[in-house]
């Protein structure tokens, strides 16, 4: 029986396509109260006075909370964020007050009636403004904040929340030996996750002390720990339930609404209270994806070998840190892209601005990072007059070399980039990026870009799996990873079915997550679920097989080592007709006389990643993840040189998947990522007004790719270089489809129009402006 490598339909597919699957806010319980926040209408201002009298008079209003009722700071790494603004508001859309009422309508009405006096303060509206010598300080006390999770190095009296260093190679740099040196700057805006399902959380504090939380979270166990930590509870008291999540992309790994809902519930005697983001709130109040301003200096020999890199990444993290220090370290650890460079100096800065704060975003910083790297590589290829694919091939990172933070790369832990590059050349019929004329003002041009990524998870991240057997021999699987789209639960079932050699439709996975009954999975982020959950499931399968054999051995009067398991039977290796069915032993074995031994088969597996460490403060040295997925992406664009309009004809990806567990599943997750990446390249960005107002907080003005605007063709291929320690050799794949798409588009546009397209999104106007605009 073969399950791995087959296109297994997703366990959640039928319920989802028929609209029957239930998401967090689909089930409402009568009597639930609603909490609605009042958002700041200034990006930076002192709160002079808050009058809640009118709001409290609205019929049905139960409580109104302000920053004074929440005198503590929260944060995933650095505790710098008040749940409700304290004294000052630091971004447009920050929650300032919270109204709890019988209904959402009443709470909204009351929230609009809260009267707030502000004294506007100078707004820090960009990274450059934040780093100016006399810039207003967004967090004057940044060095006095509590650090919840090391490391983070805030700089006092600046807007720098964190600074990560990477120093590799000779202190006496190799620049003099370089024949060609290029510099390149890329600037990427903040972007929104734009999940179809906006964030929501419901909290109820029971008289017995238990706290029930229902949330649209990718990180139910992090929610549990945060609430326990901030409200002095035992972790077991906090029960977090995470049903199917309607798109997350990193945005639901941050803990925000859960804290507000807890505070709201506490204010009304523990009654059940829901906080449900409107789309505008989801945009402006809840965290978005980081912006980036990157500067590259690359030096190479004239044969193309890159000798030295000096890189600065400055992240627009917005008003609070959340997971930015982790993202900064992820960028630092992969700062050169998948290329071998012996002499690296890289600085990553987390810069506070008066923008919406930021959090993880599909790729954990690697998409903007990859953009900057691949634009620099392309510029280097131009300067060297080399085919850019050949330049990538020549410098592609290989086993035996080391990462920028000196992690050793082996034939197992890093994918095969040269192979992927060659496969891409065939797949899009690479012509070196030459411009092809196809009409009076129409040209076609290709662009490619490579990427790599590792997990950058904390070194103590855990995952577990529990298998229980039903009487009829079917099995139930319980894991702590949330299903937010990529088919995590199905993959886990597939691994179990393969290990037990049983049909995957006889494996039932718990689709929701409940921290009280499901074993912990650190967070459903970093594309790590297949690896971590998979390892735990493998362990649990070993345990179950051992238990099944032990019981069957008694029934069959033989030694467990005589037995094998397949097809829901345990049988003698040398004589399979001598066997017991799973259904005979799932709930104990009953002898013909009636007496029974053994009980229900319950198996467990548990996993923690080994050999990871935190990066060294001065050199960055350290091992950031268990393995690196590599890949190449390409596009064929058709560009109108008169109007600067363009369309994506083809989009292609070749990724080293290690082993493709579910071909159709893998292809669709990559295609989805490609579409998202093209959306960033071609239209998405958060737009702030000159006063820091979040201008496009609706889908009318924050544009994404819509149906009919996709490429004519998506091409997805995989190469397979197994990661030996991973389940069936599979490498992480979940986020990667997005990573190099914007860079590939920029590389193609730059060639097509003879410009440096370094600042997405690329709308015709930006190309027109780069090509001379008004002056042309």
């Amino acid at each position: 029986m073969k399950v791995i490598g087959c296109s297994i339909p997703r366990k959640d597919a039928r319920d989802k396509v028929t609209g029957r699957a239930k998401y967090n806010h689909d089930i409402t319980v009568g009597g639930t109260l609603y909490a609605v926040p009042r958002l700041a209408e200034y990006a930076h201002a002192a709160i002079k006075n808050i009058r809640t009298v009118a709001a409290l008079k609205v019929e049905g209003v139960r409580a109104v909370l302000t920053g004074q009722d929440t005198p503590f700071l929260v944060g995933e790494v650095l505790e710098d964020r008040p749940p409700l603004a304290h004294g000052r508001v630091l971004y447009w859309g920050e929650p300032v007050a919270l109204v709890v009422a019988d209904s959402e309508e009443k709470a909204r009405l009351a929230a609009s009636l809260i009267d707030i006096d502000y004294e506007p303060l100078p707004v820090v509206n960009s990274i450059d403004e934040a780093l100016k010598p006399n810039a207003p300080l967004i967090h004057p006390d940044v060095d006095r904040y509590t650090i919840l999770n090391h490391p983070v190095y805030p700089k006092s009296h600046t807007n720098i929340a964190d600074h990560v260093h990477v120093r590799k190679g000779p202190t006496d740099p190799l620049w003099p030996q370089c024949d060609v040196v290029i510099e390149s700057r890329s600037v990427l805006p903040q972007i929104d996750h734009m999940a179809m399902e906006t964030r929501s959380a419901t909290v109820e504090i029971l008289p017995g002390g238990r706290v029930l939380v229902h949330s649209t979270t990718q990180a139910p166990f992090a929610v549990q720990k945060m609430l326990a930590h901030y409200f002095q509870l035992d972790q077991g008291q906090v029960v977090v339930m995470a049903p199917l999540v309607g798109g997350a992309f990193g945005g639901k790994a941050a803990v925000q609404l859960e804290i507000l809902a807890y505070l709201a519930s506490r204010a009304v005697g523990g009654q059940m209270v829901s906080v449900v983001n409107s789309r505008e709130q989801d945009f402006a109040m809840s965290p978005v994806g980081t912006g980036l301003d990157a500067h590259f200096r690359l030096g190479a020999r004239d044969d193309g070998k890159i000798l030295a890199a000096e890189i600065t990444y400055r992240l627009d993290i917005g008003a609070y840190t959340d997971s930015a220090p982790r993202i900064a370290r992820a960028i630092a650890a992969q700062c050169t892209g998948p290329y071998a460079v012996d002499n690296v100096k890289c600085d990553v800065l987390c810069v506070y601005t008066n923008h919406t704060y930021t959090t993880a975003f599909r790729g954990f910083g690697h998409m903007p990072m990859t953009f900057a790297i691949e634009r620099a590589i392309e510029k280097l290829a131009d300067a060297l007059k080399m085919d850019s694919l050949a330049l990538r091939l020549m410098n592609a990172i290989r086993p035996g070399q080391s990462s920028p933070t000196k992690a050793r790369l082996t034939a197992s832990n890093v994918g095969d980039l040269p192979k992927a590059l060659n496969a891409m050349a065939k797949l899009i019929e690479w012509n070196g990026g030459k411009v092809m004329k196809v009409g009076p003002h129409l040209i076609r041009v290709q662009g490619i870009a490579s990427f790599w990524k590792t997990s950058s998870s904390p070194p103590d991240a855990v995952s577990g799996a529990v298998i229980t057997m039903n009487k009829d021999g079917t099995v139930n699987l319980s894991i702590g990873a949330v299903e937010c789209g990529p088919g995590t639960k199905t993959t886990a079932a597939q691994i179990l079915a393969e290990k037990l050699q049983m049909p995957v439709d006889r494996v039932f996975v718990h689709l929701d997550v409940n921290t009280e009954v499901d074993p912990e999975h650190w967070k459903t982020v970093a594309s790590l679920s297949t690896y971590m959950v998979g390892k735990a499931v493998e362990e649990a399968c070993k345990d179950l097989i051992r238990q099944l054999k032990n019981l069957a051995a008694i029934a069959l009067k033989c030694s467990p080592s005589d037995l094998a398991v397949a097809g829901e039977k345990v049988f003698l290796r040398d004589d399979p007709q001598v066997m017991v069915r799973f259904s005979d032993i799932a709930h104990g074995y009953r002898f013909p006389e009636g007496d029974t031994i053994g009980g229900q088969r319950i198996a467990r597996g548990s996993f923690v990643i080994r050999h990871l460490n935190l990066l060294d403060e001065e050199t960055g040295e350290g091992r950031p993840g268990p393995g690196w997925t590599v890949g190449v992406q390409g596009v064929l664009l058709e560009v109108n040189t008169e109007t600067f309009d363009y369309r994506v004809v083809k989009a292609a990806s070749v990724i080293d998947a290690g082993k493709v567990l579910n071909p159709q599943g893998a292809k669709s997750v990559v295609m989805g990522g490609m579409c998202q990446g093209l959306s960033y390249a071609t239209r998405e960005s958060v737009v702030y007004g000159s006063d820091g107002t979040f201008l496009n907080r609706q889908m009318r003005s924050y544009r994404t790719v819509r149906m009919g605007e996709q490429p004519e063709q998506y091409l997805v291929e995989f190469v397979e270089t197994p990661q030996i320690d991973a389940p069936f050799g599979a490498r992480p794949l979940g986020e990667h489809g997005v990573l190099a798409m914007p860079a590939a588009v920029a590389n193609a546009l730059s060639r097509a129009l003879g410009i440096e397209a370094n600042q997405p999104p690329f709308v015709p106007e930006s190309l027109w402006a780069l090509a001379g605009g008004e002056k042309a």
């Binding site: 909204r108 609009s112 239209r683 544009r703 819509r706 106007e765 027109w768």
Partner: protein, 278 residues
């Protein structure tokens, strides 16, 4: 997701509607005429308006008419833009209406609501600015007719308690050569950087513009330049943009300079299409 509650009335005659409106106004309810309702709802959500009551005009038979009558075509103000495009009585109106918003909204957005919109676009008005049309207006005395050109000057000019009932135009306009182009920042569905409806009678090109300035406009001087048949398309387009008497706007969709650039190449292509047959 609603803010304060809002009373709803659905009269079945014009006089009843206006009477109801006046009464509500007098009682301090800040009423609004409700057609497709999409703008009232979305502006209310953002706390831009607080109508305490709405008077839905779609129950009035004249507001719901949509037909070819003898020599005329008549379009009720309550007909959705989607329905207008589906019936396709007037190809230029179809082309323009069909590009407003996304399908989900377009089945709700009405001709009257679009023309009376507070947003600067009002794209479905463009064809009407190019022809001699008659407007039916709902007043306290019942339905009155007025020339449409007297009623629309960038925005609908009506007394506070009046509303648009229907628009009427000769069937002949349906056979004029026409072009409609909607140019956006990037997307198929979006507000226009510039949206242009154009027709040609014997020798003259008439063009009306939305999105370019703070309200829709047309101008004889622009039409004259566009119609100078001896000049190349590109030259006419360039001169036409120079002749536009309005200031191009800059907003999150595009800068003023870029709007001009887009308007220019779009006009060149419109002239080419309209004169292509000759």
């Amino acid at each position: 997701m609603m803010t304060p509650l809002m009373a709803y009335y659905r009269p079945s005659t014009v006089t009843e509607a206006v009477t109801t409106f006046r009464q509500l106004r007098q009682d301090g309810h800040h009423p609004a005429y409700w057609s497709g309702g999409t703008e009232i709802l979305t502006r209310r959500r953002l706390h831009e308006i607080y109508p305490g009551a709405v008077v839905d005009i779609k129950g009035i038979p004249e507001v719901g008419q949509h037909a070819v009558h003898g020599r005329d075509m008549i379009f009720g103000a309550g007909i959705s833009l989607w329905e207008i495009a589906r019936a396709d009585y007037w190809p230029l109106l179809t082309a323009t209406a069909d590009r407003v918003a996304d399908h989900t909204s377009r089945v709700q957005i009405t001709l009257g609501g679009n023309i009376a919109s507070h947003l600067p676009y009002r794209e479905a008005v463009l064809p009407w600015m190019l022809v001699d049309a008659t407007a039916w207006v709902g007043t306290i005395k019942g339905i009155q007719t007025r020339p449409f050109c007297k009623l629309f000057d960038g925005r609908l000019v009506l007394a506070d308690d009046e509303f648009l009932v229907a628009l009427q135009v000769s069937r002949d306009v349906a056979s004029f050569p026409y072009t409609s182009r909607k140019m956006t920042r990037r997307d198929w569905v979006n507000y226009p950087l510039v949206s242009i409806s154009a027709t040609k009678d014997v020798h003259t090109i008439h063009a009306a513009f939305s999105g370019y300035a703070l309200e829709p406009f047309r101008d004889d001087a622009i039409d004259r330049v566009l119609s100078e048949e001896d000049l190349p398309y590109a030259v006419r387009a360039e001169r036409a943009v120079a002749a536009i008497p309005r200031k191009a706007i800059s907003d999150i969709h595009g800068s003023a300079a870029y709007r001009k650039f887009v308007t220019q190449y779009t006009l060149a292509s419109i002239i080419e299409v309209l004169e292509g047959g000759q």
